[in-house]
């Protein structure tokens, strides 16, 4: 029989796992990609919270409706000449007082490349199974729950919201482009049409999926040399060695996370 047995039912395990989600904190990543004819650089941060915990023997922790709380900063570069038509101001001739007539040449408008920032935050719920993994990391014992496979993320609502945000931000940015007035509404429609929800979904996948791929929560972390009592002058600390740890899900009349520990002086 192990020296120490600690057990938590699903209620307590929920507290443990939600605390582990908080401890994981916010993860940040950045990168770049393409969205139709446009280039996108992005930074993203994500944290996790919530979820219904179901313990499944012998070693699975199932989290349903785990929340992926994300925040995205996207910077789109649009070459407006790929959306707007070639447009030239015609030659303008007027009579002038000291010379019969003066004519300006045809002036062809140069549509610039604009860069617009789009920010979006949201929550995506997902379900995932995690398996228990007990291991030593340096001088610490860790009990992790590690995601099995790659959870499916539903991007639809987020993609629609981002596309709408692109439209709004692009519209504001385009207002500052000289000579665009008559083309503005069409330009915004063209931008969002060229990108499309499918395009945004295709962009979100590579951005957000890495946050859940390999997702690991640490539910237990203690040093191998475990302090029982702190120093109290003139006495030193009292420590024990955690020699071995196992973690399983045990099933009887209820499912429990059971941690077994062997110690030595």
């Amino acid at each position: 029989m192990p020296d120490i047995i600690a057990a938590a039912d699903e209620t307590a395990a929920s507290n443990l796992i939600h605390a582990a989600e908080t401890t994981l904190g916010t993860i940040s990543k950045s990168g770049s990609g393409n969205l139709g004819p446009f280039t996108v650089s992005w930074n993203a941060s994500a944290s996790f919270s919530g979820g219904m915990i179901d313990l499944i023997a012998p070693n699975v922790v199932r989290i349903a409706n785990c929340q992926l709380n994300y925040s995205l900063g996207l910077t789109f570069s649009f070459d407006l000449s790929s959306i707007l038509p070639d447009f030239c101001l015609p030659q303008v001739c007027i009579p002038i007082p000291f010379d019969g007539k003066l004519c300006t040449p045809k002036i062809c408008i140069n549509w610039p490349t604009i860069t617009i920032p789009v920010s979006h935050s949201g929550v995506i719920n997902f379900d995932a199974d995690f398996s228990l993994n007990v291991h030593l990391s340096g001088t610490d014992w860790l009990i992790d729950i590690v995601v099995v496979g790659i959870p499916f993320l539903q991007f639809g609502p987020a993609a629609a919201a981002i596309l709408a945000a692109i439209g709004v931000t692009a519209s504001l940015a385009l207002l500052a482009i000289p000579f665009i007035g008559p083309f503005l509404a069409g330009a915004v429609v063209a931008i969002t049409a060229v990108i499309g929800i499918a395009g945004v979904t295709g962009l979100l996948g590579p951005i957000l999926t890495p946050f859940v791929s390999g997702l690991t929560f640490t539910v237990y972390k203690q040093p191998k040399l475990f302090q029982v009592l702190p120093p109290a002058l003139p006495d030193p600390a009292v420590n024990i060695n955690l020699d071995a740890i196992t973690a399983v899900v045990a099933s009887s009349n209820e499912d429990e996370l059971v941690i077994s520990v062997d110690i030595s002086a």
Partner: protein
């Protein structure tokens, strides 16, 4: 039946684990095993200093030393194989140790010597001590508490007459209880740091374990 039963968290420490904890405690803090007047302690040996027993006519008082071996614990059911003179019942524990009592025996060189000079010769005896008691708990705040031990009876084998045995048993029960009172096991240790535990039930002794139940 689940381990947590009606509560949400459970911690159980086997008597072997408690003995490892006792071992760790007294190895780190050996002064709690030896209580002596300084004259009877070898140099550099850890001990807790006590004053000599003052007595008129004995210069400096009676020097003495009480030294315990690291105690071992046995939770119910009885694992002593019948050797315990205080076998444990449900919810009880045995603590077993050996105590060496040393007295600094003072003898005058010459009873008629007006200067009253003499010599101290330590003489010792070692006794096997059995105690029976139960776990205690001190609760500070939700999730923050300690487990300790209290001793109800002490038995020393083979001292006669019985009245002498009773006197020695009483003294050793008081002394051993004072020693064991220093051993405190925080709830965090009982759970090996897995979670905080707001105590609802326990500590209870059964199956060679001490068990506590609560909420995380």
């Amino acid at each position: 039946m689940s381990l947590t039963e009606a509560e949400t968290v459970f911690a159980g420490v086997h008597e072997a684990g408690v003995n490892d904890l006792f071992n760790a405690f007294f190895t780190a803090r050996p002064r709690f095993l030896t209580y002596a007047t300084p004259a009877l302690v070898p140099p550099a040996s850890p001990f807790t200093s006590v004053p000599a027993i003052a007595f008129p006519g004995i210069p400096g008082g009676i020097e003495y030393r009480i030294r315990f071996e690291i105690p071992t614990v046995d939770f119910a059911p009885d694992s002593s194989g019948g050797s315990s003179p205080l076998p444990v019942g449900p919810g009880q524990l045995n603590i077993r140790t050996k105590v060496t009592i040393t007295v600094g025996c003072y003898r005058y060189f010459d009873d008629t010597d007006k200067d009253r000079q003499g010599i101290v010769t330590p003489i010792s005896t070692t006794l096997e001590v059995w105690a029976r008691g139960k776990p205690t708990v001190t609760y500070f705040s939700p999730g923050n508490g300690e487990m300790g031990f209290s001793l109800d009876e002490v038995e020393i084998v083979d001292i006669t007459p019985d009245s002498l045995e009773s006197v020695v048993e009483c003294i050793l029960r008081m002394v051993l209880q004072a020693v064991i009172r220093n051993v405190r096991l925080p709830f965090n240790t009982l759970t090996a740091g897995a979670f905080s535990l707001a105590l609802v039930r326990g500590p209870e002794i059964e199956d060679d374990q001490v068990k506590i139940y609560g909420n995380a």
